[in-house]
């Protein structure tokens, strides 16, 4: 039995060894559990949250743009989209076919939905058509019981209620392009829109607001289980403009009488812009949903450039509207004296070069008032070289030409006011005396925008205050416009201004004035101004001898630009307007439109009431995310 005892002893020894091995392994497991759950717990908690939590961005509501009376120019409209959720229907294609009986679908639209359905998870809805009309919406709602998997989704879409009338001021929004990406994650949202032109572009950051987000719990296949937390973003800031929508529409109508024209209407004292229009216009709503290629091509190739804001971005030689600048410079340089008179034979010779007055037979003897009233070129030719280009240019700059004036539109251009130094720098040539002669009547290198010309007149008639045009009055409830109403003085002597204004009054109200036929007869509402006709092509000596082709017989592109700057009432200037009619042949149409604008705005008394922003509508409580 001793061998049995040995056996038991051996067994006990070996059992203890085995037990030890097991104990060691169990301790290893304890260690491992401790490592994972105690030491590395934070890391794994983060990983688990990464697994289960998806961050969903909530697009902010874009700020609304109002006119001065609180009428919406750029608003957000409810947008209804019809969508289909593949997992909610047994036969996706049959569902779409049924839908197309209510809402006609093209075969390629059905195809694109089917393609998408194969590419993404079955519980994700696929958009079929957006921007449903009320009729379409009603038709789908009524037939909903038969439409398996079909549902209606609601979102916001930018809408411009007055379309073409405000297109150039407000601008439009479009899909996010590569260059718009600036790291704001909201830009990556499907269907997100950013400002492309006008105020929509200039105030993109303010109008956009900031995105909110929703933390949602998802399962392994990405399906939403529940919303954990929601942080509503900050909606975009609303803004109110100094623009008066009713006036704006009228101005747009007046401009539409011509093939291509633009106008700026502003307050001479404050610089507030009451209307700013460019014609022909376009419907900015085309861009929010994605413009068709054909429509885009048509707009882009039209010779009247409907997409361009010609009121701030069109540059034209100012023509005779520049004569106020030359007059003021001449008065300041004491070249034009109290009794300065010039005899106009219809031309003026410098060396062997002859400069022609627009009036073939000449004006006879004219003083400053009549030189302005009849727009005598010879008067200015004769004094121009005594003043000198640099003094003319300095006056032009004081009056707001040759620089971007800071209106809140990205399309604004600065034009050109030439000086001797400018020519040497840009063209590398010395200034020629003859060029001063040409510049004195607003031709040659001079380039101005309608906005600059309106500003020029404003500064002239408001007592020499350096107003700058502006149109954003309130931003997010703050009166940003107020700080823009104290303008520095540019030191225009009152007697000089009085003499120039007398000339401008004569332009309209003197029988001999170039715009006499457009005068407003009512003395209290009478206006003053200046005509301008700018050559597009140089008139050769040959043409003068052979007799000129009448403007209306020339191709549109080669006709003269017609300009008019005016203000009203003439004795107490308040409103300033500048109208440019492209290739009008003469200044008549521009003068006619200016008369109508100044007449209308005086009737409307625009600007009597301060800019009003509608009381903010309390934001609707966001609808609880639908469990999908």
């Amino acid at each position: 039995m001793s061998s049995d005892k040995d056996q038991v002893l051996s067994f006990t020894r070996r059992a203890l060894v085995m037990g030890g091995v097991k104990g060691a392994l169990m301790l290893t497991l304890v260690g491992r559990l401790g490592y994972l759950q105690l030491a590395q717990s934070d890391k794994f908690k983060t990983l688990a949250d990464k697994n289960r939590i998806n961050l969903k961005l909530l697009a902010p509501v874009r700020g609304i743009i109002y006119d001065r009376n609180g009428q919406g120019l750029a608003v957000n409209e409810q947008d209804f989209r019809v969508q289909v959720t593949p997992e909610q229907t047994d036969d996706l294609e049959a569902s779409l076919q049924t839908l197309s009986r209510v809402l006609p679908l093209r075969p390629q639209e059905i195809q694109s939905v089917l393609t998408k359905a194969r590419q993404q998870a079955k519980f994700l809805p696929i958009e079929i058509i957006d921007n449903l009309s009320w009729e379409q919406l009603a038709a789908i709602e009524v037939n909903m019981p038969d439409l398996a998997g079909i549902s209606i989704d609601e979102g916001k879409r930018r809408y411009y209620p007055h379309g073409p009338a405000t297109a150039h001021v407000v601008g439009y929004v479009g899909s996010v392009a590569k260059q718009d990406q600036n790291g704001d994650p909201v830009l990556a949202l499907p269907g997100f829109r950013v400002g492309k032109t006008g105020l929509e572009k200039a105030f993109e950051v303010d109008l956009r607001g900031s995105a909110g987000n929703s933390r949602i719990e998802v399962n392994v296949s990405g399906r939403m289980i529940r919303e954990l937390e929601r942080e509503n973003g900050k909606p975009g800031e609303n803004m109110s403009l100094t623009i008066d929508l009713d006036l704006q529409k009228k101005v747009q109508e007046f401009l539409a009488r011509e093939k291509s024209a633009s106008a700026v209407v502003m307050d001479a004292h404050t610089g507030a812009v009451y209307a700013l229009a460019s014609s022909p216009s376009f419907d900015p709503n085309l861009f929010t949903t994605g413009i068709s290629h054909d429509a885009w091509t048509t707009l882009n190739t039209d010779e009247t450039l409907p997409l361009n804001n010609k009121a701030v971005g069109g540059v034209y030689p100012p023509g005779s509207t520049f004569k106020m600048v030359t007059s003021m410079a001449g008065l300041e340089a004491n070249v034009i004296k109290e009794d300065t008179k010039v005899f106009c034979p219809g031309h003026y010779d410098v060396g062997n070069h002859r400069f022609h007055c627009w009036k073939k037979g000449g004006h006879g003897t004219v003083d400053l008032t009549q030189a302005l009233a009849q727009s005598c070129d010879t008067f200015y030719y004769s004094i121009s070289r005594d003043i000198g280009i640099d003094r003319i240019a300095a006056m032009a700059k004081r009056l707001g030409l040759g620089e971007a004036l800071g209106l809140e539109l990205p399309e604004e251009r600065k034009g050109t006011v030439p000086t001797q130094a400018w020519k040497e720098k840009t063209l590398g040539k010395k200034w020629d005396g003859g060029e001063t002669v040409v510049a004195s009547i607003g031709q040659g290198y001079l380039q101005t925008t309608p906005l600059q010309l309106a500003t020029m007149v404003s500064r002239l008639v408001n007592g020499g205050k350096a107003v700058r045009p502006w149109m954003v009055a309130k931003l997010d409830g703050i009166d940003v416009g107020l700080q823009r109403q104290r303008w520095p003085d540019i030191g225009l002597p009152a007697d000089h201004v009085a003499r120039v204004r007398a000339g401008m009054e004569a332009v309209v109200n003197d029988e001999r004035g170039t715009a006499h036929q457009y005068a407003i007869k009512d003395e209290a509402r009478a206006f003053a101004g200046k005509t301008g006709t700018a050559q597009v092509r140089r008139i050769t000596e040959q043409q003068r001898i052979e007799g000129m082709v009448p403007q209306e017989d020339q191709p549109w592109k080669y006709r003269h630009q017609g300009l008019f700057v005016g203000y009203a009432p003439k004795d107490n200037p308040r409103y300033v307007a500048c109208v440019v009619v492209e290739h009008a042949g003469g200044s008549g149409p521009a003068a006619s439109i200016t008369r109508d604008i100044l007449s209308t705005i005086q009737d409307m008394r625009v600007g009597d009431q301060p800019v009003r922003m509608p009381a903010p509508v309390p934001a609707p409580v966001p609808e609880k995310e639908k469990e999908s």
Binding site: S3, Q7, S10, F11, T12, R14, A15, M18, G19, K22, G23, L25, M26, T28, L29, V30, R32, L33, G34, L36, Q37, L38, Q40, S41, K43, F44, K45, L47, A48, D49, N51, R52, E217, V218, N219, V220, S221, I225
Partner: protein, 378 residues
């Protein structure tokens, strides 16, 4: 001769008195484990009792009665049936193998109606029984003789070969481990095991070459799961995230995000420990490990107190088999071992493992009940 031990053998009478000898702590531990299983399965089904827990409870009830019946058997009968049972299991394995060849694809189970029986699970118990029976018959220095290794080798290699070709490498390896433990406890020379371990180190790289592709992938994935986060490494990675994110006190019962959002695969079977550790944290995991340790201790206690070699080897072999299950499963879900697809017995959802495990515990208890019984040498 009665199936239950006769009056004179026990000195006391009847089945009721035998029931009184069943070790109560072990029975309670088994019940506790099963309850952990029901709770975990209820959570795995997101609060649905019928999905898994109900069936599991029925199987446990049947198996539990079976366990107590086996516990009250006369150890002599078990001793006599050890070899026949081994042959019976070999036959079952062959049936599974042949039906697979005939064209039902790789199939590892035989349908018994209420459960699908996997013969490979029973085979583990059968191998332990057969080896215990064999070593019981050796005398004196016989276990140290090399020729005594021949029969145990056959008893091991035949079933392992049949299981590995199923293919089920994991179960095959587990039988090899249990068999090695039995041979060690039976008294085979020490140097054999030292040499065996050394040989293993040399052979493993070579053996790797002969593995199936999916098996190779499992091993490679185990070595570096993050290399392949969406492929084969996904299970291990997600399991580690689940356990780790449970932290000290867990996410709360039925609150395990990894499990309930389906990031965790097989959460009701192989990865049920993960679900438990995610929801109950380090505290819950440790409690379960302590319960397992207590069960191991009970098994050892029964083995050490048995008067016969058969009883000793049987109890220790079965508890070792159970321990291997536990260590491999938890080692796997915590990312310490390759994914071998072994469940956590009594907790994981599954019929065969439940039945074979309760059967094994019944045998262990039988050794305890019959601890003073004597058995013939051959």
């Amino acid at each position: 001769m009665s199936l239950f031990a006769s009056r004179d053998n026990l000195g006391r009478s009847g089945v009721t008195s035998r029931l009184g000898l069943v070790p109560v702590p072990l029975v309670l531990s088994v019940i506790a484990l099963a309850c952990v299983g029901f709770a975990a399965l209820y959570s795995a089904a997101s609060g649905d009792w019928d999905r898994w827990a109900h069936q599991q409870a029925i199987r446990f009830a049947i198996g539990f009665v079976g366990m107590l019946v086996v516990a009250c058997l006369d150890l002599k009968w078990i001793f006599r049936l050890a070899y026949p049972f081994w042959f019976f299991c070999i036959v079952l394995l062959l049936i599974v193998e042949i039906s697979g060849v005939i064209g039902m694809g790789a199939q590892r189970w035989i349908s018994l109606g209420f459960i699908n029986l996997q013969p490979s699970d029973l085979m583990k118990v059968a191998t332990v029984l057969a080896l215990a029976r064999y070593y019981h018959g050796l005398q004196g220095n016989e276990p140290k003789h090399l020729k005594s290794l021949f029969i145990p080798a056959v008893m091991t290699i035949v079933p392992v070969a049949l299981i590995v070709v199923q293919p089920d490498l994991g179960t095959g390896l587990m039988i090899v481990m249990v068999a090695a433990a039995m041979v060690f406890l039976g008294g085979a020379p020490w140097w054999l095991f030292a040499g065996g371990l050394a040989a293993l180190g040399a052979i493993v790289p070579a053996a790797f070459h002969f593995l199936h592709d999916y098996q190779k992938k499992r091993v490679l994935t185990f070595l570096n799961p993050e290399n392949d986060p969406l492929g084969a490494g996904y299970h291990i990675t997600q399991s580690k995230i689940a356990i780790g994110s449970g932290g000290f006190s867990g996410k709360g019962y039925m609150e395990g995000s990894q499990a309930h959002l389906n990031f965790l695969p097989e959460k009701h079977t192989d990865f049920i420990f993960t679900l438990w550790a995610e929801e109950w944290g380090f505290v819950g995991g440790m409690a379960l490990l302590l319960l397992f340790s207590f069960i191991f201790f009970q098994g050892y206690r029964i083995g050490m107190r048995a008067k016969t070699t058969f009883g000793r080897l049987l109890a220790l072999g079965l508890i070792t088999n159970y321990a291997i299950y536990i260590i491999i499963n938890i080692g796997m879900v915590t990312g310490m071992m390759p994914v071998v697809g072994e469940p956590l017995p009594l907790i994981s959802y599954g019929g065969t493992v439940m039945i074979s495990t309760l059967f094994a515990f019944g045998l262990m208890m039988c050794v305890a009940v019959n601890r003073n019984a004597t058995l013939p040498r051959s």
